[in-house]
């Protein structure tokens, strides 16, 4: 995947189409991806990009559990884009749905529009709020969308909608998204679906590759292997 990523990054942005595949048969629900994402993007309390949904299926004694990591689906027809009143969220040529934090007015309309509940809102909280001092490590910048975002009161991304962006700042540096590299069970795959020889193209062509809420026509770019 790493080699394929670096190969894809050599192509013009318009010729890449990022896709993520999550093999639910391999996911053990350890939530390492959730934590890796929180650490990578320095997410504050109340903001999460990739929670793992746990479901119990069946009744005792015939019970099983299913774990479904849920991130932004980077839809090809994203309902969040058309309803944003100030064009703060848009589709990039490589398929990633981006939020321009400095453009977002914080109306939270997009939170309602997302059928996957993939957007969270940054209410400006700190983990060490209420202690004698808000620790300086909480104010370190995140590097989302390839820019520095120091965490300061009333400054973006505080007061903005936030969501997964496939760690595009890491992609630019030739690295896979944090959740992919952290997955202990090799359950998460990532790559360029415009490359017919890539692992990701192979996986999404399988009959057991499904997408959430297909019926809405949002064309998600996250697939689940079931």
């Amino acid at each position: 995947m790493q080699r394929e990523l670096q190969h894809a990054m050599k192509k013009p942005i318009r010729e890449r189409r990022w896709v993520m595949v999550i093999d639910l048969r391999k996911c053990v629900g350890c939530s390492a991806c959730t934590i890796a994402c929180v650490a990578e993007n320095k997410l504050p309390p109340g903001v999460v990009y990739r929670p793992v949904i746990e479901e119990e299926i069946g009744t005792y004694p015939n019970v099983s559990r299913r774990f479904t990591p849920r991130l932004c689906m980077q839809c090809d027809n994203p309902p969040c884009v058309s309803i944003c009143p100030v064009k703060a969220t848009y589709k990039r040529p490589d398929g990633i749905v981006e939020i321009n934090y400095n453009q977002c007015i914080g109306c939270r309309y997009c939170l309602h529009a997302c059928p996957y509940g993939a957007r969270t809102y940054d209410f400006g909280e700190f983990y060490t709020l209420g202690t004698p001092k808000v620790e300086s490590y909480e104010k370190l910048p995140s590097y989302e969308y390839g820019r520095e975002w120091p965490r300061e009161e009333a400054k973006s991304p505080v007061g903005n909608a936030r969501k997964c962006h496939f760690c595009n700042h890491r992609l630019e540096a030739g690295m896979l998204p944090a959740c992919v590299t952290t997955c202990i069970g090799y359950a998460t795959f990532f790559g360029d679906s415009n490359d017919p020889e890539s692992l990701i193209s192979n996986l999404i062509s399988k009959p057991n590759a499904l997408r959430l809420k297909e019926e809405l026509g949002t064309q998600p770019k996250v697939y689940y292997l079931v």
């Binding site: 309390p45 100030v86 007015i105 939170l111 940054d122 007061g159």
Partner: protein, 387 residues
């Protein structure tokens, strides 16, 4: 000045001062002290905005009926309707402005808009509508009667646009199956008319500057029939919605409807929407005693409260249904709660803005009634009539 206004204004000013604490907290501490979350991102302020702009639109209907359609019995009510339309709009827009994460970027809605977003269109319509209301206030104060008819026609078209547009704001969201219906536009438009007219009627009964004469009785009679017709229309819309949901039996929509009726906010539906919004006013207004001013005033107050509950019911219970089952338990934090109770900051600011709007209304009606009285006296004196 009315005795009740004299008593109310100091109380309202105290509430305004309390509201300033809420405003201070919001400005200094941002949104940290709001009890909102990512699954319930809109609360008291946005819920209130939805019905407050509805009040404004409904109050404007009285202006349209009087100035454009020439229904003379609404002469006095129209004097109250204009300030009501103004203060309820201002109140609603202030609440929704403060709800923005970055209020200072509000200008982007005008200069960097996304025309595919209905929210932008709503802001533009509200802006023009505010201009129309201010122009009508100016025309009323300056005695420029000929301006009022064209202004009321344009204003009414805008009321229809944003009255339905409010419903469209939620109706276009395909992610929420319960909202995603064209019927929501019709429901919002007619509840706006009903609640606004009821509010005008309520103020003309309990804050009137005139005796209970024939003109007053005629106005109440007209308003009573109008309110009854609107109640019937809204009941029909509710029934249509309920039957379609029931027989279509789409699980997500049924679940949302169940939450409205039996969920956390079940009491808002039964006591607010059904009892106060429908049963009490119908029980008072249908029999002959509905013409008695005091009872009529009570019925309209009941409608005002019931419709506020009805609008909150459209927003809050639906948000307590998660987009994906068990998602709320996937990551535990209070910002991912499906239970919402407004925080002290939210309540204080809400009360403060509401009190400021009410105080402005009381002062405006005193001024307008005074100006109207002076103008009528001048006409009488110029014509050499004696009273």
């Amino acid at each position: 000045m009315l005795r009740i206004a004299k008593a109310l204004i100091p109380l309202l000013l105290i509430l305004v001062v309390l509201g300033l604490f809420g405003a201070w907290d919001r400005l200094v501490h941002g949104e940290k002290n709001l009890n909102l979350g990512s699954y319930l991102p809109w609360g008291l302020w946005v819920g209130s905005y939805i019905y407050l702009v509805g009040f404004s639109g409904g109050a404007f209907l009285v202006l349209f009926l009087y100035h454009a359609l020439g229904i003379r019995s609404l002469r006095r009510a129209s004097l109250y309707a204009l300030p009501l339309a103004l203060v309820t709009l201002g109140n609603g827009l202030m609440l929704v402005l403060v709800d923005l994460g970055h209020m200072e970027r509000f200008w982007k809605l005008y200069l960097q808009p996304n025309p595919t977003s209905i929210l932008v269109w709503m802001v533009w319509v509200y802006s023009v509508y505010s201009g129309i209301l201010l122009a009508m206030l100016y025309a009323t104060v300056q005695g420029r009667e000929p301006w009022l008819k064209p202004l009321s026609v344009v204003g009414f078209l805008l009321v229809i646009t944003f009255g339905g547009g409010e419903g469209a704001l939620l109706g276009v969201l395909g992610a929420k199956p319960y909202w995603n219906s064209g019927l929501l536009l019709i429901r919002f438009l007619f509840t706006a008319f009903l609640s606004g007219i009821a509010l005008v009627a309520f103020t003309t009964v309990f804050l009137r500057h005139w005796p209970v004469d024939d003109e007053h009785r005629n106005a109440l009679d007209f308003l009573r029939y109008f309110v009854l017709i609107l109640l019937a229309v809204i009941s029909l819309v509710e029934l249509a919605e309920l039957s379609v949901i029931h027989y279509a039996a789409i699980p997500a929509v049924l679940e949302a409807r169940r939450l409205v009726i039996f969920g956390t906010y079940w009491w808002v539906f039964w006591f607010g929407q059904v009892l106060l919004g429908l049963v009490v006013p119908a029980a008072i207004l249908i029999p002959r005693w509905g013409t008695r001013p005091f009872l009529f005033g009570l019925a309209t107050l009941s409608i005002v409260i019931g419709n506020a509950a009805s609008k909150q019911n459209v927003v809050l219970p639906i948000l307590t249904a998660s987009d994906l089952r068990t998602l709320p338990t996937a990551f535990i934090h209070e910002r991912f709660s499906l239970v919402y109770h407004p925080s002290l900051t939210e309540w204080l600011f809400w009360l403060g803005v509401g009190a400021a709007a009410a105080a402005t209304f009381l002062i405006l009606i005193e001024t307008l009634v005074f100006l109207q009285g002076r103008r009528e006296r001048a006409v009488v004196e110029a014509a050499g009539w004696s009273r």
